[in-house]
Symmetry: C2
Subunit: 431 residues, 2 copies
């Protein structure tokens, strides 16, 4: 391969993930499914045009960190505290049930000596909720600002935090030479450390922006650097996964007043280069011939477990909090989809030796399945009915916060479009 | 090094290039000087904290390509044709004189068997003008929209194109197994190919945007992929340097109506990650102990040659076109600074074996020197005087185009600031 051959690889990844993403979008499937398919089809599993390289893996690693950082940026802790009780209960039961399902199911298939941790790990993968698909669907249907819609949004955010804690504990235990108490102590220390850093970071940023006003670009770059350092520190000094560090770094920055700007810059960095490489590299790791009959059956069972465990877990949680039966089912269905977080956790697991390669294919299939099935089921359970309990629109600051970054992006585009139209008019008048 | 150690490297690069950039900016020196210094100080030449890695080199390569792509995006061919005559004469003489100076000076020092090409290559490095420093300085002084200011802007853009052609020819000749005619034929074919692609690309983009409106983000990603492919194709099929391909790709996209949006997205990608890595990696390549007395003297002479050759060459060109003596000196001085393009060309030369490592230090010193001296000299020669020939403000569409991307960025920031202020007010009222 020539020294510049990797340029072509990057270009191929950008084009194929975008094209497949558009195709899946056109047939009303989520774009992430297309991006995954692009990697699988171009990769060694099928056409063999693209292969994993050190460079791609490292870009993908940055991609993962940026995705988790964004997830943290979008989580508004203050608002979460207000949403409070019911979302928390839904999230907790909605995490424990999939964890149990994943553990039990994998136990039947895993004969490895390290089985306990590995099975727990599959359980952890099942806990992650990817709320974006649900949000998109509900928005389209005009059902996002219902009581059920809000409960889903709140619970999914808490879900992420619980999932991160689970991941943190289990990756901490991966190094079997240290005992459990030491691991837990380190994790507690990490969260204390994060709290202290967060406290001072907030003060420092406030002090900085009170004195200087025009430093937003600088702030974006330094926030990104802060995220990378936090990811490094988490893994290096506390034995906590780097993605946990990135997520916490996002939470810390989301506490500052300029978080929307940072989020929009990080998003550009993400979609222009690094997250397509991440999704493609996930696809590249899937080698189809490995899907033996046994693994195929496991894949199907994993999909069923993923589907049922969230409906049962979150539905139960919602029912406990006084939601009606109809609402509980809606909430459960809204939490089914697993997206990038499940993929991120899975690829982390392979890197750490906590997951066997043979389970990677089934996990991808599960992610694709839950992502595709969620909108379909949502449309079904959210059908209007007599005495619909979700008839009234709910005001929610959580929802506002979620839509802010998107609104900013849309407003910039509109402004630019107008600017271009003005220019074109000028040009027409001149000629 | 741990598998995640590179995260810390990237963070260090982002922080150090930003901090040094701010320090040099504060003492009224260009930020690029700070970014270079960051690499030199943290690199093996001094502190030894950062080292070149494969990953960094590949990110830097993408950084180079993006920088050249941006340069192409900012070049409006239509406007250049209108500016026409005088800028062209200034650029041509302003390229030939430094080329000659560089060739002759290096001849005294270079005893390599491949000396002709190597000496010509140093000449090519001296041709590149980095107009951004001059533009910033003139803008501050309110002198950008003078006749001299405009001539500088036009000539610097043509300069880039001439420099690219020179680079294309010389890198084509690097492979001594093929003869000159074959090289020239391939280069001509490349430009014909670019023209054809450009023609169809413009039609295709117009067709696309007439049918779909809300596809700007997609267009940015695909434009970036197009740039990478064009860079690859240039090098792989035509033996032309990849940076030439990237520049031409930028020219092609700049012909489309949505170029401003693409430029602003590419700029974000650039400053958030890849151009800091590029500047740092240039600094990392500089190993100070290699600067023997002889090389030190060469460095000083190279600085003098860089300074005088542009003043003489561009000044002469301006004088031929009917500018006054004062204006000609102003134009000459405005073209002195060499910035990222010189660095890009130099690092390309080392990669291709067209430049010896020992000349790399002097080139960096020359770039830093010309970048630092230009604002100082500009302030001196642009001092108001009786009967100032540059008294009248000139209207220029070239200037407008140059400021457009910047204005877009500034407008987005202002909008966001307002949005944040509104939110803060709301928060204050609530509490």
């Amino acid at each position: 391969m020539d020294s510049y051959g990797f340029l072509l690889d990057v270009a191929l990844i950008l084009i194929s993930t975008k094209l497949f993403g558009l195709i899946t979008k056109r047939i009303e499937m989520p774009q992430v499914v297309g991006a995954l398919l692009a990697g699988i089809i171009l990769g060694p599993g099928m056409l063999g045009i693209l292969h994993e390289t050190e460079f791609m893996n490292q870009i993908a690693e940055i991609g993962v960190i940026v995705l988790m950082f964004s997830a943290g940026l979008e989580t508004d802790m203050e608002e979460l505290k207000k949403t409070g009780g019911s979302s928390f209960v839904i999230a907790v039961i909605g995490v424990l049930v999939p964890l149990a399902f994943g553990y039990v199911l994998t136990s039947f298939y895993n004969t490895s000596p390290n089985a306990f941790l590995e099975n727990m790990f599959i359980g952890i993968i099942l806990t992650a909720t990817s709320v974006s698909i649900t949000v998109e669907t509900l928005k389209e249907m005009g059902k996002l600002n219902t009581a059920s819609g809000n409960a889903i949004l709140g619970a999914a955010l808490i879900d992420d935090i619980l999932g991160i804690i689970g991941l943190t504990v289990i990756t901490g235990m991966a190094d079997t030479s240290v005992n459990l108490m030491a691991v837990l102590l380190k994790i507690v220390l990490f969260f204390v450390f994060s709290g202290v850093v967060g406290f001072f970071a907030r003060k420092l940023v406030k002090y900085w922006f009170d004195r200087h006003d025009n430093t937003l670009r600088r702030f974006s770059v330094l926030s990104f650097a802060f995220c990378l350092i936090f990811a490094y520190v988490a893994e290096h000094f506390f034995g906590v996964a780097d993605i946990t560090g990135a997520f916490i770094a996002g939470l810390i920055i989301s506490n500052t007043s300029k978080c929307t700007y940072v989020a929009s810059r990080i998003e550009t960095l993400s979609y222009m280069l690094i997250s397509p490489v991440f999704f493609a590299s996930i696809g590249l790791k899937v080698v189809l011939p490995e899907l033996s009959t046994q693994i195929l059956i496991f894949s199907i069972l994993l999909c069923v477990a993923a589907l049922l465990s969230k409906i049962i877990g979150c539905g139960l949680g919602a029912r406990c909090c006084g939601f009606t039966n109809v609402q509980s089912v809606r909430i459960g269905v809204g939490m089914i989809s697993r997206g990038e977080v499940a993929l991120i956790v899975a690829s982390k697991g392979i890197a750490l030796g906590l997951m066997q390669e043979q389970f990677f294919g089934p996990v991808i299939i599960m992610v694709v399945f839950t992502t595709v099935i969620t909108p379909v089921l949502l449309k079904f359970v959210f059908k209007e009915r007599a005495n619909d309990p979700d008839i009234a629109a709910v005001h929610s600051e959580l929802l506002e916060h979620y839509e802010e970054v998107e609104a900013y992006e849309a407003a910039s585009q509109a402004m630019l479009d107008q600017h271009i139209r003005m220019k074109e008019n000028e040009a027409t008048q001149e000629s």
